[in-house]
């Protein structure tokens, strides 16, 4: 299938530090406000943050299939609107001005919702006091081997040479949703009003003006590094290729994602008598491996040993990078303040 991979000169990448992500959804909301408030877009959240372990959005997306299995494109199942979660409307007017007084209370109109973009927020797994979870932000991986692109029957999806973003020509898209079946990350939404699919556009209009994507620039946790993966000097390159502390999610699906994650260093284990077992973390390593593959052990080891250097007062280039003393260092070359822009 390698021949099917489009050649690309440049590739942007996201590196998300899961030790910094606090699940606030600022990325999700920033993206929502910027891109998906048009007709038919209300249920769309191109960027979402979910609690892991957890079923996520769309519900149980990891079991839906897609990507490449044994070298072949494997179409998976199409998530339903219910599995994504609908854009609930609420009965504000009934509460405020219907004269029903306290007989009416604010809630979603119609049948009670059964799922949403963040339904299992903070539920996690394990047993108290060693229950555990972390937050996993997800957006389109702008894969180097995009299954959606290959699957599209209308040639509507393309990968740009200048930045490697995987975009859709919405004039060609016929809403077949084969892309959504092929995408193993289930990050493609269908717009029933316009009869097209839509997904994260990597904020390309911003990139073209030197401005970082909204999910990156607006992250208050300073959790996202952005830049060109093909630039050996770029922070994202060094974190992914040199330090190897940032790993793709479900690499086994073979789409070669360009969103990478620095694994979470979970809190130490508490023994039954209440003492702390420093050698064991709450979050099972096996679980991290199921998401980020076997290399996650080495990544965690590197993070731990570099952190311990700082504890001993020794320098650590990796920690210096992760601290990002100057926030703009996280944005790669996309440091421009959008408020500077004027439109003719």
């Amino acid at each position: 299938m390698a021949d099917a991979t489009p050649s690309t000169h440049r590739q942007v990448a996201w590196v998300i530090d899961l030790n910094r992500c606090i699940g606030c959804q600022t990325c999700s909301v920033a993206c929502k406000v910027l891109w998906t408030q048009g007709e038919g877009e209300d249920p769309m959240w191109w960027c979402t943050v979910n609690t892991k372990p957890g079923r996520g959005t769309p519900r149980d997306w990891e079991q839906m299939g897609g990507g490449y299995r044994n070298g072949e494109l494997a179409l998976g199942r199409l998530p339903t609107a219910e599995e994504f979660g609908e854009a609930w409307e609420f009965n504000h007017a009934e509460v405020y001005e219907s004269g029903k007084g306290q007989d009416a209370f604010l809630k979603p109109i119609g049948a009670p919702p059964t799922w949403g973009m963040n339904w299992d927020e903070d539920i996690g797994a394990g047993t108290f006091p060693n229950a555990h979870f972390f937050y996993l932000p997800r957006l389109c991986n702008h894969c180097s081997r995009p299954a959606c692109l290959e699957a599209c029957p209308n040639d509507a999806i393309y990968k740009r040479e200048e930045d490697g973003l995987v975009l859709r020509d919405e004039d060609r898209c016929k809403g077949a949703q084969t892309c959504a079946r092929a995408c193993p990350y289930k990050k493609i939404y269908f717009n029933p009003a316009r009869k097209v699919s839509q997904h994260c556009i990597g904020c390309f209009p911003r990139l073209e003006k030197g401005v970082a994507p909204a999910c990156v620039r607006q992250c208050p946790g300073r959790a996202v590094f952005f830049g060109f993966l093909d630039d050996a000097k770029a922070t994202v390159h060094r974190l992914v290729r040199e330090w190897e502390v940032a790993l793709p999610l479900h690499a086994e699906w073979n789409t070669e994602p360009n969103v990478f994650y620095i694994p979470p260093l979970s809190t130490p284990w508490i023994r039954e008598d209440g003492s702390v077992d420093e050698s064991r973390r709450r979050l099972p390593t096996g679980y991290l491996e199921s998401l980020f593959g076997p290399r996650v052990r080495a990544a965690v080891g590197t993070l731990e040993s570099e952190m311990s250097k700082r504890r001993q007062g020794r320098p650590s280039e990796l920690m210096k990078t992760l601290i990002a003393y100057d926030w703009k260092e996280m944005l790669g070359p996309f440091t421009r303040d959008p408020a500077e822009l004027t439109w003719s």
């Binding site: 609420f90 009416a104 209370f105 903070d122 972390f134 607006q218 209440g274």
Partner: protein, 939 residues
């Protein structure tokens, strides 16, 4: 634009034209365009909040906002604060036309809360409100006009409505009690509650201890410093009952039984003393621990004990160098050539010739801590003794910062927890240097806002006159006692002004008029060391004049007109509707809510006045030492519908009062407190002679006065603020709250509180002029709380098996964003109760089931969120949900009794007196007793 960005833009410009997708791409490029960008912020109390944003406007409509992200780096080697913000701020513009927006003045036509309204003109609304105020003045007195201050009070509310109410003789309640954000523990120890270091100072910490907090939810904008401190070699340790989101990615989570934090802290103190890890020079200089206490009376040895007519405020240490008792200096912390003893018992001869034994407070502490051996403390709090020992040694060795969260303010014995933890910091020298200390919240520095209320005329000459008058008052206060520091003089001036300003601690109003008296007298829900009913303590406090001038309004003067602006009292008040709607509301002829959204309080009001949203009128946020920045928010679009800024409303109300008073022939009148008032010139007074009419006029005046007060650079004006959006303060200015930080404000350093105390030996504004751990007030002695101790949380709400805790939620600032559809979709769209998996199984409750939560106060219904992260026996209902999001509009606030601790009425003792935002009783809500059951199919 930086070179790298320019290069990227150039490379994009050179990209080949696309065969496919060009039109599709162009449509997205088009979506991102705007035609105007202004500075904006959200003047909200999420604390420190008010992140600087850019607001993008297209075709006259706010389309989006984005964090400015251009705060400069302050200190070399410390990460900058960018890009302050959160999801609520990132969709603030969604509020402008949201379904909860109020667009027109509304007058109730049905019963209160029924939801039947008629749209009225501003003139009709203001005339009717003015008439009800005049009725109240004539029939009862102006003190029956009360504004229940809210946490979202912006400058327009403070310089507008609140001052108007003061001018007519009415009362404004102290916001710090309204929102339960006063820290009695910090106050008791330091004589001020409002210490806070800048956000970035946490990066200097080698050890961050978090308790009573869930910062992952509550401080989204600045949480990153905790991670960065950790990456820099620091450790983060959190004490939390549950596996909260803030416990997941830290170096240690120590699960603690709810309400027992004093136990681990005191056990750590014991370890530090036993293992000889005490920072003795610090303790001898900064704290009262060397001060001598009489073993017969358990009171400090005072000059009045030793000589007839001696001072009650002169204390003593035992000088080991000379082997005799020595006066503890009141003008400095420096011990000079005295070497104060921390140990031993000594005999002194009293004025009457009798001899008594005295001993340093440190000895009392040491003996007191005998009961807190780590093993014993572990039985109380559930933290393993080895962890207590290990952590104690770390605190002694590392720069330690304590993050005392809002929960520490909202436990019945939260003061004891905080005092215990400050003792730990004191023994180890952990305040007054970077990366250390404990924090709460503060205001200050934007002095123009304060000055505006004092001025009668516009312009700098009047300001200079006022500043000179103020200097004279300060000088006179210092002359009364030359050992007073500038900080003490300012506190004293503020204390004397409290009664005049019509600012009241609301405890007395609640007790007399809002239905709390019955609850506060529930001995079974209160501390068992009370020897008398609550009523007796209240009576004694009043009779002894401890609350003179501020214990208003009296019994025969129930509030007739209630204003609510920038708040939602029926949401936030513990005891909620159960108390207020039954007692306070029925006596109020008129309830007015000013808001841009429909709150529960608005729904229970007679008038709802639509306020301009933060993007619709120019304003400044109320700055704090956490950011040390004045932040401006411009008018992005005109106010929606018929909404108006609170300033404009105030002027309309002033005119209406003037007109209706004249028509009704109401001339000059006296308030019950004896002040004279006239409404004849109210509009001219409010506008300083008709000069300050627009918001821009007032903004400019406040800025110029702030320049004169010296906290922002000369030459700053509104045009400059419109351009640059924010600026860093250059000095503390004239406010007591700013100077309470007690450290030099440097342009290129993080701010760590209390450095004047540790570096310049300036004394603390307490009775003993030291960080005071021993409170020998008779009530504290009776209660066994002279020293920090652990006490069990009373069974508030009745003897029920579960405890209900709360805390700020993630999805809304208080209730402000909680009914916004976009944010509702980021969770389950309903309130929820977090319940442990095992508890839920025992009760037959499944995730999503509706649960009945009940105790002796009442009940409410809420969907369950079942998780192993919850602590068995603990149910968490985060606060901020509108009561009208619950069935029958009954929520957790309605079954939280809202008890206050009787000791917080104590006075007549050094620093135990009221001044604005400070010493006063505040209702508590944490770990209320409840039970739960599955609601039988009622969904």
């Amino acid at each position: 634009m930086e070179e790298a960005a320019r290069e990227v833009v150039r490379s994009y410009e050179k990209a080949r034209p696309r065969a496919s997708g060009a039109a599709s791409e162009e449509r997205y490029r088009e979506r991102w365009r705007w035609d105007k960008v202004v500075w904006g912020t959200h003047c909200v109390d999420c604390y420190p909040g008010n992140c600087p944003m850019r607001v993008y406007v297209r075709d006259g409509k706010v389309v989006r906002e984005e964090q400015a992200g251009n705060f400069p780096r302050i200190e070399v080697g410390v990460p900058d604060m960018n890009p302050l913000g959160c999801q609520k701020g990132a969709c603030w513009g969604q509020h402008l036309d949201a379904p909860d927006r109020v667009l027109y003045p509304l007058r109730r036509v049905g019963e209160r809360g029924e939801g039947r309204w008629e749209r009225v003109s501003w003139r009709e609304a203001m005339d009717a409100i003015a008439d009800s105020m005049l009725d109240a003045i004539e029939e009862s007195g102006p003190e029956s006009i009360v504004q229940l201050m809210g946490p979202e009070a912006n400058p327009w509310n403070i310089v507008g409505l609140a001052r108007l109410i003061t001018r007519v003789g009415g009362l404004n309640t102290d916001v710090n009690a309204e929102i339960n954000d006063f820290s009695p523990g910090i106050y008791l120890t330091f004589g001020k509650f409002n210490l806070c270091s800048s956000l970035d100072d946490a990066f200097h910490s080698e050890l961050i201890l978090i308790f009573g907090a869930n910062p992952v939810y509550t401080v989204i904008a600045s949480y990153h410093y905790q991670v960065e401190a950790r990456y820099n070699g620091g450790e983060t340790v959190i004490f939390a009952p549950d596996c909260s989101p803030s416990t997941m990615l830290v170096d240690r989570h120590l699960p603690v039984r709810p309400g027992t934090d004093a136990a681990w802290a005191l056990a750590m103190c014991k370890v530090i003393i036993d293992e000889g890890l005490v920072n003795e020079p610090f303790v001898k200089e900064q704290t009262d621990l060397p001060f001598l206490v009489r073993t017969d009376t358990h009171r400090y040895l005072r000059a009045c004990d030793l000589e007839a007519g001696g001072s009650e405020e002169q204390f003593y240490v035992y000088d080991e160098r000379r082997g005799c008792v020595a006066e503890a200096a009141r003008s400095t912390l420096a011990t000079g050539d005295v070497d104060p003893a921390l140990r031993g018992e000594y005999e002194v001869t009293l004025a009457d010739g009798s001899r008594v034994t005295v001993t340093p407070v440190f000895e009392l502490v040491r003996e007191h801590l005998e009961q807190y051996a780590p093993e014993r403390a572990a039985e109380i709090c559930g933290v393993h003794p080895d962890e207590i020992r290990k952590l104690a040694r770390k605190v002694a060795a590392k720069r330690t910062h304590v993050w005392a969260g809002g929960t520490s303010l909202k436990y019945y014995h939260g003061d004891l927890m905080v005092r215990s933890i400050i003792l730990l910091l004191g023994l180890t020298g952990n305040w007054g240097k970077k990366g250390t200390g404990i924090g709460c919240w503060s205001i200050g520095m934007f002095d123009g806002m304060m000055l505006l209320g004092q001025k009668q005329e516009k312009g700098p000459a009047e300001t200079r006159r006022f500043l000179a008058g103020r200097d004279a008052v300060i000088a006179a206060i210092r002359a009364e006692d030359p050992t007073r520091t500038e900080e003490m003089c300012r506190i004293e001036m503020t204390r004397r002004m409290a009664g005049l300003a019509g600012m009241i601690p609301p405890a007395f109003l609640w007790y007399r008029h809002a239905g709390y008296r019955e609850i506060w007298n529930r001995a079974d829900w209160s501390d068992p060391t009370m020897t008398r009913p609550f009523d007796d303590y209240m009576r004694e406090a009043i009779d002894k004049g401890w609350w003179q001038d501020v214990a208003w309004p009296p019994e025969d003067m129930p509030p007739r007109v209630i204003f609510q602006a920038g708040g939602n009292t029926l949401r936030r008040t513990r005891g909620g509707q159960n108390v207020l709607l039954r007692k306070l509301w029925p006596n109020a002829r008129t309830v007015v809510t000013i808001d841009w959204r429909m709150s529960t309080t608005a729904l229970q009001s007679d008038f709802v006045l639509p306020a301009a949203n933060h993007y619709e009128s120019p304003r400044f946020h109320i700055p704090s030492p956490h950011m040390l920045t004045l932040i401006y928010s411009d008018r992005a679009t005109e106010p929606a519908g018929e909404s108006k800024s609170e300033w404009e409303m105030t002027l309309l109300l002033a005119k209406a009062l003037e007109r209706r008073a004249s028509e009704r022939g109401i001339g000059e009148y006296q308030s019950r407190r004896g002040s004279a008032h006239s409404l004849k010139d109210l509009y001219r007074q409010t506008t300083l002679g008709g000069e300050l009419v627009s918001e821009e006029d007032v903004c400019e005046e406040m800025l110029q006065d702030t320049v004169l007060a010296g906290t922002i650079p000369e030459g700053t004006d509104l045009a400059a603020m419109r351009e640059q959006g924010y600026l860093r303060f250059i000095d503390w200015g004239i406010s007591p709250f700013a100077i309470n930080q007690a450290s030099d404000l440097e342009p290129d350093e993080t701010h760590a509180h209390s450095r004047w105390h540790t570096e310049k030996q300036l004394p603390y504004p307490t009775l003993t002029r030291r960080a005071q751990f021993y409170i020998d007030h008779e009530w504290f002695l009776e209660a066994g709380e002279a020293l920090p101790t652990h006490k069990e949380n009373p069974k508030m709400g009745g003897d029920h098996p579960f405890v209900m805790t709360s805390g700020h939620n993630r999805w809304s600032v208080h209730s402000m964003n909680t009914t916004n559809p976009l944010l509702l979709r980021t969770h389950r769209g309903r309130p929820h109760a977090v319940i442990h998996t095992g508890d839920a199984a025992n009760k037959g409750i499944r995730d999503g089931d509706e649960v009945r939560v009940f105790n002796d106060m009442g009940e409410f219904f809420v969907p369950a969120k079942v998780t192993p992260n919850a602590r068995p026996g603990q149910v968490i209902v985060y606060n901020g949900w509108e009561p009208y999001m619950f069935r029958g509009w009954r929520g957790p606030m309605d079954i939280e009794p809202g008890l206050v601790k009787h000791l917080h009425l104590a006075g007549g003792y050094g620093h135990l007196h009221y001044w604005v935002l400070q010493w006063q009783p505040t209702p508590v809500d944490r770990a209320v007793r409840i039970d739960i059951e599955r609601a039988n199919g009622a969904v």
